[in-house]
């Protein structure tokens, strides 16, 4: 079915097409439309699922985990503070090995309330054990959500999966997209067959005390799940293409890579903007290409080592920052390439808190980065002025204020 819909509504429709059975959720801008649509689909009898109107995101994730452990297919959606509030349960979901899929609409974290896009929310959950994929377009959001269940429910994976889509740029813009019917999805996604579950017919204890003698192995098996996921992700993309004829890449997606000497690397919708920048650079004779990281976890280490070899220079775009260090993707890229590709890599931090990023800016900064004209880590669109800094003088001003108040008293 071809529809003209927002990214958020497309996510809801894709969940419906995937025969999701339980949806616990809590509203937060800019995710709200997803769960409103789910509630509406259920109310109209178009979606055969239980909606759990939980009282917080911590509870949303708790119910997501426990519902999945009964053997039902479970889905949720959140964003920013909601995702942060789930943090404990994100670890729980991964540790108890439930194959749930959750959409996260990437939004900045306060304070300084900001509902606009950046990747700080999901990047901050990097080490929870979740599979993380970042989509760059509406159709890809639909297709990735469906593939998500196929990937996470694979018995060699069984790790929760987060589909990240950029706030407003994708969540609230309308685009026409193909939403497959449930029957079509059935040809691709088999019913969920749990490897373990909560069932009175076979009483099993889940998540009890595990001593140091065994605990490490449970965590190593999660690492193995991520390792296995790499092949399952590739397979899921191939099979999806066979059934639906669409492909958005697997762990990575390349654009004009073959003869490229200079690379831009990015995640999410900024890669779509970067494509335009690459086109412009090509027009002016620069052999530029784009390497989009779709899966941040598991990280496409092998792909990067192969695809970055013999390039002249790379610029990594981050829509996030690991404070006290640098952009998170930048760190990961360097770690992956260390000892494998001798290529200069520089970092552009842009688009924080929804700041608009144009292809002109990307093209301009990329050339500077490749020519070594900017530092290793550059806040590309920064216009920090004196008014953004808390100066010594301002602090002294407060001191004087307190002193004079004391005198008055």
């Amino acid at each position: 079915m071809r529809v003209l819909e927002t990214g958020n509504h497309l996510i809801a429709l894709a969940a419906e097409a995937s025969r999701v059975e339980v949806v616990p959720a809590y509203p937060i801008t800019p995710q709200t439309q997803i769960i409103e649509k789910v509630a509406e689909l259920i109310d109209e009898g178009r979606m055969n699922a239980e909606y759990i109107p939980v009282e917080s995101e911590h509870s949303a994730c708790a119910a997501l985990v426990s519902a999945s452990l009964t053997g039902a297919r479970a889905f949720s959606a959140t964003s920013a503070h909601g995702l942060a509030y789930m943090h404990e349960m994100l670890h729980y979901a991964a540790g108890i090995r439930v194959p749930v899929v959750m959409a996260n609409v990437n939004r900045a974290l306060g304070p300084g309330w900001n509902i606009w896009c950046d990747h700080q929310d999901s990047i901050s959950q990097r080490d929870t054990g979740w599979i993380q994929v970042y989509v760059a377009g509406h159709q890809e959001a639909v297709d990735t959500l469906i593939q998500g269940f196929r990937i996470t429910e694979d018995h060699s994976v069984l790790l929760p999966l987060m589909v990240n889509l950029d706030a407003f740029v994708l969540s609230h813009t309308y685009m026409d997209a193909e939403v497959p019917s449930r029957e079509d999805v059935d040809r691709y996604l088999p019913p969920y067959k749990p490897l373990w579950k909560l069932d009175p017919r076979l009483p099993v204890t889940h998540g009890s005390v595990v001593y140091p003698a065994d605990f490490s192995e449970t965590r190593e098996s999660m690492q193995l799940g991520h390792k296995n996921a790499r092949e399952v992700i590739r397979e899921a993309a191939r099979e999806f293409e066979d059934v639906f004829g669409r492909r958005h890449g697997d762990l990575v997606e390349g654009y004009l890579l073959d003869d490229a000497e200079y690379l831009v690397m990015a995640m999410g919708s900024l890669s779509a903007e970067s494509r335009v920048a690459i086109d412009r650079l090509r027009e002016s004779g620069v052999k530029a290409g784009l390497l989009r990281v779709r899966f941040f976890r598991p990280f496409p280490t092998e792909e990067l080592r192969t695809l970055c070899r013999d390039r002249a220079s790379i610029m990594v775009i981050d829509r996030d920052v690991s404070y006290g260090m640098e952009g998170a993707l930048f760190s990961e890229v360097k770690a992956a390439l260390y000892g494998h590709a001798d290529v200069p890599v520089r970092n552009l931090i842009v688009g924080i808190g929804g700041r608009d990023v144009t292809y002109e800016l990307i093209a301009d900064m990329a050339q500077k980065a490749w020519n070594g004209e900017i530092g290793d880590v550059t806040w590309g669109d920064s216009h920090t002025t004196e008014s953004h800094r808390v100066t010594r003088e301002m602090l002294c001003e407060f001191d004087r204020l307190f002193e004079s108040e004391k005198e008055v008293r």
């Binding site: 059975e21 939980v54 119910a63 426990s66 452990l69 479970a74 729980y92 001593y211």
Partner: protein
């Protein structure tokens, strides 16, 4: 009336648990399982019960069991209830099993109250049992919102200066169909309450006073005796509330009806090391009076007035 002979012989709480001697939670689990039977899914909230069930790869609990995070008792029940509903719809399960949450007072009064309240408001079909040992036992005896005034804990080294809150009444205020309190000194009363809860749709809340020998500092052989004195002194009132109507049961009923005389709170306090310090202090009499007053106040709130013979 049920008698002990009517209790099923099947033991779903197996031998080999790692609980302390005289552990109230273990005994309560054993009785609860007999009342609910094997078609039950158990959710254990972080507490002593997460530990006493035994550790991986062994388990003393012969039910499908999910150990959940501290704040998630109610939400986890909502998830399981929705999950099994979906499985019944799909034809995977013939009927929805009973969903039982087992949580301590910390997981109920404090960190878990939001999630429990949410589940009750959502009318999730499950039984929530709080075994209330009036402190955080698992982490080594810290105060909770259930710790009574005067009691020593590691975070109230001079004795707690506030009263406990009345969470059963908070649950009644949710207008759920069934709320009850229970005591291990009245096991058949508890058994019947669990059975009744099983037969009612919606959220059921049952709270068991759980005198914990190491935490309350009394010999483990006296666990039932302390439980009984809690009721006899009025420090723990036994009742059930069905659709808003409160009915006293067990020892409390006999006190309210004037059939037996309520014992002084002091008798109960003196059995436990956790009150020794406050009783010996200059504020000892005041603490005792405040607790007696609170007993009267609780009876007044439940019954409407305090009969003069109490």
């Amino acid at each position: 009336m049920v008698s002990f002979k009517d209790l099923p012989e099947e033991e779903l709480f197996l031998a080999g648990s790692t609980a302390c001697q005289g552990c109230p939670s273990s005994l309560a689990l054993r009785i609860a399982f007999k009342a609910l039977g094997s078609n039950t899914i158990l959710i254990v909230v972080a507490s002593c019960t997460s530990v006493l069930q035994g550790s991986y790869p062994l388990s003393a609990i012969n039910l499908p069991l999910m150990n959940v995070a501290f704040a998630t008792g109610g939400a986890s029940a909502s998830g399981v209830a929705a999950g099994v509903k979906a499985l019944v719809k799909r034809g995977e399960l013939a009927e929805e099993p009973t969903v039982l949450v087992w949580a301590g007072d910390g997981g109920t009064y404090d960190i878990g109250i939001q999630s429990l309240s949410g589940a009750a408001e959502r009318e999730t079909d499950f039984i929530y049992v709080c075994y209330n040992n009036e402190m955080y036992s698992n982490t080594g005896t810290q105060r909770s919102g259930a710790t009574p005034l005067g009691a020593w804990t590691t975070t109230t080294p001079g004795g707690k200066v506030q009263h406990r809150k009345d969470i059963a009444q908070i649950m009644i205020a949710h207008r759920i169909p069934y709320v009850a309190t229970a005591s291990l000194a009245y096991p058949l009363d508890f058994y019947q309450k669990m059975q009744k809860a099983k037969g009612i749709r919606g959220t059921k809340y049952i709270e068991m006073l759980a005198p914990c020998p190491p935490g309350w500092k009394f010999p483990s052989a006296q666990m039932i005796e302390v439980s009984r004195l809690a009721v006899q002194s009025g420090m723990w009132l036994l009742y059930e509330n069905e659709d808003g109507e409160t009915r006293f049961t067990g020892g409390t009923k006999r006190i309210i009806e004037g059939k037996v005389k309520k014992k002084p709170v002091k008798d109960y306090l003196e059995m436990q090391g956790r009150f020794r310090q406050v009783l010996a202090s200059p504020e000892g009499q005041e603490a005792e009076d405040l607790l007696e007053e609170q007993v009267s106040d609780s009876i007044r709130r439940l019954h409407g007035w305090v009969p003069e013979y109490i």
